[in-house]
Amino acid sequence: MNGDNPLLRVRDLKVGYEVPGDLIVPVEGVSFDLNPHEVVGLIGDAGSGKSTTALALMGLARPPGKILGGSVEFGGRDLLTLPDAEIREIRGRDIGIIVQNPRAALNPMLRVGRQIGFAYRAHNEATEAAARAHAIDMLRLVGINDPERRVEAYAHELSGGMAQRALIAMALSSTPKLLIADEPTSGLDVTIQAQFLDEMWQTVQKTGSAMLLVTQELGVIANFCDRVLVLHKGRIVEDAPVRQFFAEPQHPYSQEVLRFYHERASGYPEQVTGGAGFLRTDALTKHFPLRGSDKVVQAVDKVTISVAKGEAVGLVGESGSGKTTVGRCLMRLEHPTAGAVILDGQDITALNAAEMRKMRSRMQIVFQDPFDSVNPRWTVADILDEPLRVHEGGDKAARRERAVAALKQVDLDPSLMIAKPRDLGASTLQRINIARALICNPDFVVLDEPTSVLAPRARNSLIALLARLQKELGISYLFISHDLTTVRYLCQRVAVMYLGQIVEEGSVEQVFTAPQHPYSRALLSAHLMPDPTNRRVDNPVPAALEGEIPSPIDVPKGCYLASRCPHVTDACRANPQVLTDLGQGRAVRCERVVAGEITLQEAAHD
């Protein structure tokens, strides 16, 4: 695929940093070419050196790193040997970059418009007013509504998606020949991510720039890129056109990454029968009072869900949908404002503190951040011993044996018993968290986004472990996630939450194949399926939502989705929607769907 006259030619790029007595080289010889107008994906695990490489292309390294060698040829000149003033001219003018965590990359003390203006004027002769006008144009170009107002905003006043757009406006303000996008959507919600990538892709097409898209999401690669570079252990191990890559990955690492994607085709988990309502909530509501105001944050609004014995129920939604709060209320880590949580016929919201403590041996939770969930000063043995000590007491040696068994159960070696958390990786720690949650043989476990901080590979194996454990132990899961792929793999049933309410509920198959509620549809269509044969950029995008999720403080009167829904009517805006049972375990909160007014489109996927 390498053209004869590449835009960028990278050879043997090496970046490293010193630690006491050692030199660590995360990027140890990266070579590739980039052609004009091409969109190339750079994929790799966390820590594989993707971001470091991206920065090094601009001649920079994040302290304490240093560029140790190699060349980055751009327009016939080696950027790494250019004097500072000249490379500074190239940065921003010829090569634009956007980075992850956009809000931190914006100067917190300057209005966005001024920053874009500075970036523009650094490379173009322009008056301040002209720069401002240009900033407004750029913001409009990247899809920001009301750019005249947004130029006056500060970084902290912008949402993540907005800030990323501002960054793109800055990066593209001088129409560079190359745009480097370093995980631009990490931390963004699914719908926003899709929207943003669409817009970025379109903008790049309009400006005629080439793009290097750094990511660890296969879905992003499949949908937006022409070519893939796989970075593994500091080197490019595979360089292939997208379709070829997905069809026939060459390198073992690529094959492993894609394995899960290939296995996935094997259909949906079997539905469980019996034991219905083993755990259920009854109109669970949680409001948080707002400091210095009599308003409340309506985090959870009359949520009724039910998990059968041995069943895994997925709870999906974007950040701010209240799904985590539901999980915390189930565990009584938050006390619900109203409603009941009934486990095996017993309302746990009515238990006193001592009874509740006893009850906790029957229900457990696994949190999102594995590092944060363990006491950093304790050994794995201490960590695993704690629930046993609290609930069962007894002989120390016996408890230790159980801890060792629990480790084995999550496929970890007993030698880890003496390790401390800081010596362990995220996926190992998450397994220890799972082992800890299961050690007292609970009936029910809340899994609160347990895979979200893991790299795709680790994510896959953890999901497999969870599925296996459920099968072996017959426990019930409430699996909270924004990642539809994992839900589809692990869960029998799924509930979709939006702004504290459940908007749709049904079996995974029902919801994934034929989503009813406009929000579910948008969510599913925004999900970037790792399928290069059906690229998002090649098809018209269906059922897109506009704007962003409203504040849970001043919720709309009628349908909560009204401000974003493409099917909205005046009635929607006026009438609160109710969750209506459609039979076969399905329910949806949309009167237009119930009335059959919204024609069922072909499901976006599968």
Binding site: P63, E89, G92, I97, V99, L106, N107, M109, L167
Partner: protein, 342 residues
């Protein structure tokens, strides 16, 4: 919004001051002596003692004394509500007027010391931040640790010995002016300003000369924490994502430098406020070495004389000034950094 914030802060400050007044009021009344004996002096008969106690209001019940002090019994004597800090028992003058003569000396001293410390610290701190790990940075770092942990009164004495006694380039540590010089009519209380108002430049320079050593002493001590802070904040700013991004987007050096500097300024404000507040009373040792009649000296004198109204007044005024300084610096911080919401 701003106004509401200021009002709210002032209100909290007033409440804090009120608590402070109450706390100090009762605390000092636990003191193991009262100044009555000092008043009666040679006439130590019980009658004399009672008379003096009555004069000071000490014969009244404690809560009545508090009431009067707060200004809730203005028919007996004006109190805080009437803007009066009471009358010093040691001198018979109003505490307000006494503080008005002592306070400017300290304010002048520490403000000049802060300015000097800044003039030294910003370039030195930046020198460290810009050469992390290099010899210059090490030097800066050790200096900041050293200067920040020194007994200032001892350095003052040392300077007196070296610059006055040995070299003769500094004046004797005898206060704001040489004893032969008649001070100008106090208008603002700030010697440097008053000499100018009086149109006496010779005295102005004399006052400046007399301030030289105490200011250098304090600035030396202050430069420790300030350099440390400048260096740290600058380092942090230089390592921040947005400075990196500013480089990535190809902004000119000058612009990036300005980004970093501004980012380093904001968080410095809090420390400056705390240091300034501390120095209001902490300068007392240097005042003492250089015979400057500042508020700290007044405080010591009042504590040693068990002069209750004066102690209360000093604590109240110093704390009030600290609170105002904190507020001002918070406002500056908010002006620099839009993330700080009121």
């Amino acid at each position: 919004m701003l106004l509401r914030y200021i009002t709210r802060r002032m209100l909290i400050g007033v409440i804090q001051l009120f608590c402070l007044v109450i706390a100090v009021f009762f605390l000092i009344r636990l003191l193991p002596a009262d100044p009555v004996s000092r008043l009666v002096g040679l006439n130590s008969s019980p009658e004399g003692y009672e008379q003096a106690a009555r004069q000071l209001g000490l014969d009244r019940p404690l809560f009545e004394q508090l009431w009067i002090y707060l200004g809730l019994s203005p028919d007996i004597a004006p109190g805080l509500l009437q803007g009066s800090l009471g009358v010093s028992w040691a001198s018979g003058s109003t505490v307000g007027s006494e503080i008005a003569t002592f306070l400017p000396v300290t304010l002048q001293l520490i403000t000049l010391a802060f300015i000097l410390a800044f003039i030294i610290s910003i370039p030195v701190g930046m020198l460290g931040a810009l050469n992390p790990g290099k010899a210059a940075d090490k030097g800066v770092f050790v200096y900041s640790l050293f200067a920040g942990s020194q007994p200032e009164f001892w350095w003052g004495l040392l300077f007196v010995y070296v610059f006055y006694f040995q070299l003769g380039v500094a004046p004797a540590p005898l206060g704001q002016l040489s004893p032969m010089t008649f001070p100008p009519e106090p208008v603002t209380g700030f010697m440097l300003i008053d000499t100018l108002i009086a149109g006496e430049p010779a005295k102005f320079f004399e006052a400046l000369h007399h301030l030289m050593m105490p200011v250098i002493t304090l600035a030396f001590i202050l430069s420790g924490p300030i350099i440390k802070m400048v260096r740290q904040n600058m380092l942090r700013a230089l390592q921040s994502d947005f400075v990196l991004y500013a480089n990535l987007i190809g902004l000119p050096r000058k612009r990036v430098a300005r980004y970093a500097l501004r980012a380093a300024m904001g968080p410095s404000m809090t420390l400056i406020g705390i240091l300034y507040g501390f120095m209001l009373s902490g300068a007392v040792l240097v005042e003492s070495v250089f015979s400057l009649g500042g508020i700290g000296q007044y405080a010591i004198r009042s504590v040693l004389a068990f002069d209750y109204p004066a102690i209360q007044g000093v604590v109240l005024v110093i704390t009030a000034i600290s609170l105002v300084v904190y507020l001002l610096l918070d406002l500056i911080h908010a002006a620099i950094d839009p993330r700080i919401a009121y």
